[in-house]
Each structure stands twice: as structure tokens, then as C-alpha cells.
Symmetry: C2
Subunit: 348 residues, 2 copies
């Protein structure tokens, strides 16, 4: 997106996504009842959030079209529309793998395996979208994976090597699905100059549809034990649950902006950093002291973001000669050391 | 040291130093008796090792001088010779801080604080030697510090924040002393074109002297309970102890080569990597399974080495367009994504 003036807005969107993702996990925790379970049907949250996103996007599309009917490009070719259910389908598959996966690995290992999606997103960007990433960006993606993993280290991480092979295979499959869904959405958003709102309307329509199907299937398999979901939709909701839904919808809209004007990798950076913002918010909210591995992980993740987005000049340009504050020993300045050793010399 | 043909030899020396440093900790452990303590006087090891280095360097100096009397530069100006006791003195100070430091912090925290010497060595190289390091090298030094710290994470690392302020101050002081001793030695080795062997003869002469003084002071404070050290010098030595001494001498000689032809930072990289080689050697020798944090630490440290020594071109040049192995969906190649996004765009 070289030269897109929306650059600053994209950065803002990414920052908002970090905060919203972090808020999502805090709100979800806050929405639990005193026994640690949920009083509401958890699967209604993504349904309602897709519905809200659809309403918002339809409204924005209507307004944009009214203001500038020629500038608001809308492709209604069915071959194009039919590309939009794919992300919903992939996410559904991704979701259905999670439960068998958790049968093979414990939650700590599950969380650590989830970090693989950072690297698989890079791979998918290259192999599916045909992007080209220089070595430094690969290094920063690996560092981000390690940083998020380090931040999750706990006494239970010892079990990471004890899962059966199926567990790791499913974990890798899950990371690949997640990456594919991401880059495919990016592809949808960038493949033509259609209005973002029109693209979202298509995306969220299928989102609403597939979530409705899922809720119906759940009801069928439970024999309508708790009634029909469309009737009991907001049973057990309180004000926190409403915020859970609204925040999820807000996050989704931010993701589509980032996909359109930046890329999936920027989204992955934003959501990965959220994993580290959350414990700090937990510190201020619940006085839970952040762990030492978390702090190490945060530093690694920040370095990773910097390496990914810093310019070559910033990284390699030599800083000004330091002021001789500590160099009171004048003879020490006589040392014949070459000023520049950035190149191939001293390859130790 | 741009253009020095000894480049490959320096790399070899650094690799040998990594192995020798790793072997040192394994040999030292192996030299313990069945009760976990030492049958010999531990302080005799550095003394004997300095003595061996002095003998080896004297012999090499004699040979070099015989072969090429004009090419073997020897500065005997006393003002120059008097610079050489400084490293021994600083190491003595460094050593004497260790015990009060261990009164304030536990061994795990002590080990983690020790990693600060990586960053202080970078600072000392800049402020004492007047070197200039680009941002990417600072980042890799910070990463190496984090990598070694991550590799040391254990259930006891929780205590890292529980030490009193004096502990951290002494830890930082210790890291600064270690860094200063390092860059000062580098300065000595590079300040003129004197023969490396002559520089070593001076360095190790003072090393022998100060270690002898230390052993005498120890004996005096113990009231010659165990006799005079010069007489009981090798009491309790076995074949492993001999290897401990020889390996320490060998490591020391390697360090002086690295200081002369590369720099202190290369030495720090070599010895830091050794901390990670050791547990792997322990795996093959004693079947102790390496921990997960250790593996994360190793990857971080390897990335750090690569970032420090890789060329700008290697890091930023775009790789070849990937072969369209997975890109079977032809329409996915139509996405109008800019090929190069290495520059300031997408600053998220």
C-alpha cells in the first residue's frame, strides 16, 4: 500500500485493535458468573457481533453511496460474491478442530501452539498472496512467535513436549487454517477497488448465515433442550455481555480496515501484542503482578515489531559519535579501531 | 579489523572459545568429589592457568622473535607496561564483589543479573573505546541478554524481583566491571602493533603475580591452617583437575586472540553461546533433557548473533519470487500488492 495516505489511520486502527483484543479477553472473563461459567449461550456472541457489523457496514455503505454514487464501487457479479463465504467456512473448520486438539494437548500447550499462526501467516502471505518478505521480516515473525511463547511460559510449560504427535499435527493444521483465513480475507479486500463497506456487507452476511447455522445445529444436537436459539438469544445477558458483543463487533470492523489498508501480518502483530497488554491491564484492574517471562516476552515482541517496520536506514545508520562523557582516559581514544564494522568483516 | 585476512581464524577462535567455555563448566562439575565439594584448592586453578599461559606466550614470543626479530615488535617503555596490571586488578575487584552480591540475591537471580554484562560491554565499547554501533547491533545485544536470560528461566526465577535494591546495584556494578575489564584488555591488545605474544607475556605476568598474592592472603587469613599454598599447590589434583587447568589456560589464550583480531563483543557472544551449548552437552553426557525455555533462549541467541554479524544486504534484499507451489488458485496472483514494503509505508 505504498503511498496510501491512510497510513496514520491504519496505525491508529492497529493500536485500537490491540486494545480491543485485550479488552475482549478481560470482558469475557468479567462476564463469567461467580462459579466461573457463563450464564449465557457463548455461541450467540459471534452471531450478534456479525449481525451488528452487518448493520454498521450496510449503514456506512448506504451513506457512502448517497454521498458519492460514482466513487462507491460495488461489484455484484455472483462469481465475486461467491468468494466471500470462504473465510466463514474456514473459520468454522478452524473452530471445529479446536476441541479434538484440546483432547491431545493441555491448555498451556494449546496456547503456545497457537503462536505458530504468526509464522504460518508469513508463509501464507508469501505462498498464497505472492508477497515477498526480506530476511529481516522473517526474523521478526520468528521473534514475535518466540516472544509470545516466552510470555506464556509458566510452571506448566514443561508439558509442551509430552503431547502425542496428533496434537502437534492438529496444532500446525490449526495455525495453517488461521493463516489461510487471514490472507484470504486480505485477498478479498484488496482484489478490487470495491467499497470497503460493500466488501464487509458480503463478508458479514455470510458470517451471520454461518453462525445461525451453527446455533441451529447446536440446538438440534441438544434436542432443543434449552429451546430455540433465536428465541432464547439474549437469555442471561447483562451489561458486561453487551459490551463483550459490542467490543467483538468493533474489533472485527478494525480488522477489515487493517486488511484493506495494511495486511494480515499487521493484524497478527496487533493481536499478538494484545496478549501482552492484557496482563498489564490485569495488574491495574485486579492487582495480578505480571510474571518475569511476560516482561521478557514483551521486550522480544517490541523488538520484533520494530525490526519488522523499521527502515533499513534506521537500523544500519551509525549514530553520532558519543560525547566523551566517560572517556576521561585520553589514551583510550587512540585505539585504532575501524569506525565501521557493519559489513562483512569480523564475521565471527 | 576491516580486511584482516585472519578473519576465518578469528571465527575459528570464537567457535573454540564457545566449546572451551562450555567444557570448562562441565569439567569443573566433573572435578567435584562425590559429596559435591572440591578436594583441591579452587583458587590454585587460575594461578596455574595464568602460569601456563605465561609459559606458552613466552615460548611463542621467543620463537617469533628468533624467526623474525624485526617483525616482532616489543615495546618495553614502562609507561606502556604499567597499563597491563589493570585488567588483573579489575578482575580482582569483580571477584571480591561476587560474595557480597550473593548475600543479597539468590543464585538464579545472580546468574540472570550476570547477563547484563552483554549490554554493558556494548556501552563500554562505545563510551570507553569510542566505537560506534548501529541500532541493529544494539538490538542484537539486547536480544542476546534476553536470550541468555530466557534460557535460564526456571521455577525459581520468580524470585528475581524480590532482592533488595543493594543486590541490583551490586549486580549492575559487577556487569560494568566485567565490561570494563573486557574492553580495557581489547584496548591493550589493539593500542599498538606489538606482538600478541609480548602483550600476553605482560598480561599473564601480572595475572600470575596477582593470583599468587591472592593465594597468600587467603593463607594468611586462614592462619596457614592448610599449609603454604606454594607447597600444597596441587594437593588433591587428579586427571580431571589437570584438564580443568589446561582448558582454562586454553580459553584464556583464545580470548586474547579474539581481543586482538576481533573484539570484546565477539568474546561475549562466544561465551554467552557456551551457556547454551553446555546443557546440550549435558544431555548427551548425563541424559539431562534440555528445558523448553532453554530452547527458546537458543533460538533468540542465534537470531541475535545473526542480526549482529549479517550484512545489510542479507537482511533486506528480497528473496526470489517463491515458486508457485501452493498458488494453485490463479486469481490469488492478481492481487495488487506492492512488491516492496520494506520502507516507511505500513508503519503500524
Amino acid at each position: 500500500m505504498a503511498g496510501v495516505p491512510a497510513n496514520r489511520n491504519t496505525l491508529l486502527a492497529a493500536l485500537c485493535l490491540t486494545i480491543a483484543t485485550s479488552a475482549q479477553s478481560l470482558l469475557t472473563t468479567a462476564s463469567k458468573n461467580s462459579k466461573g461459567s457463563y450464564d449465557y449461550n457463548v455461541a450467540t456472541v459471534p452471531f450478534l457481533s456479525e449481525l451488528i457489523k452487518l448493520c454498521v457496514s450496510s449503514f456506512l455503505l448506504y451513506r457512502a453511496h448517497k454521498a458519492d454514487p460514482r466513487g462507491t464501487q460495488i461489484t455484484t457479479d455472483w462469481r465475486n460474491v461467491l468468494l466471500f463465504p470462504v473465510p466463514s467456512l474456514v473459520y468454522l473448520l478452524h473452530h471445529s478442530i479446536t476441541f479434538p486438539l484440546l483432547r491431545y494437548v493441555d491448555p498451556a500447550t494449546y496456547q503456545i501452539l497457537g503462536n505458530l499462526k504468526i509464522v504460518t501467516t508469513g508463509l501464507a502471505s508469501v505462498f498464497v498472496l505472492g508477497k515477498r518478505l526480506p530476511q529481516i521480516k522473517w526474523i521478526s515473525l520468528v521473534l514475535l512467535t518466540i516472544g509470545t511463547t516466552t510470555s506464556q511460559l509458566s510452571s506448566s510449560s514443561g508439558s509442551i513436549f509430552s503431547a502425542p504427535a496428533q496434537g502437534y499435527l492438529l496444532g500446525v493444521a490449526n495455525a495453517c487454517l488461521s493463516a489461510f483465513a487471514g490472507v484470504y480475507t486480505e485477498y478479498l479486500m484488496k482484489k478490487n477497488d470495491d467499497s470497503l463497506h460493500w466488501q464487509n456487507v458480503q463478508l458479514y452476511s455470510f458470517g451471520v448465515l454461518f453462525n445461525a447455522i451453527r446455533l441451529t445445529v447446536d440446538d438440534l444436537s441438544a434436542g432443543f433442550e434449552k429451546g430455540f436459539w433465536a428465541i432464547t438469544l439474549t437469555d442471561g445477558y447483562d451489561v458486561v455481555t453487551v459490551f463483550v458483543v459490542l467490543n467483538l463487533a468493533f474489533s472485527g470492523l478494525l480488522v477489515s480496515v487493517i486488511m484493506k489498508f495494511a495486511d494480515t501480518i499487521a493484524k497478527v502483530f496487533a493481536t499478538s501484542l494484545a496478549m501482552m497488554v492484557t496482563p498489564f491491564a490485569a495488574y491495574f484492574l485486579f492487582n495480578i503482578v505480571p510474571s518475569f517471562p511476560l516482561m521478557l516476552g514483551i521486550v522480544i515482541a517490541c523488538i520484533s515489531v520494530h525490526l519488522y517496520y523499521a527502515s533499513q536506514k534506521d537500523l544500519f545508520e551509525l549514530s553520532e559519535v558519543p560525547k566523551a562523557g566517560l572517556t576521561k582516559i585520553p589514551s583510550l581514544k587512540e585505539v585504532p579501531i575501524p569506525a565501521s564494522d557493519t559489513e562483512k568483516t569480523e564475521k565471527v
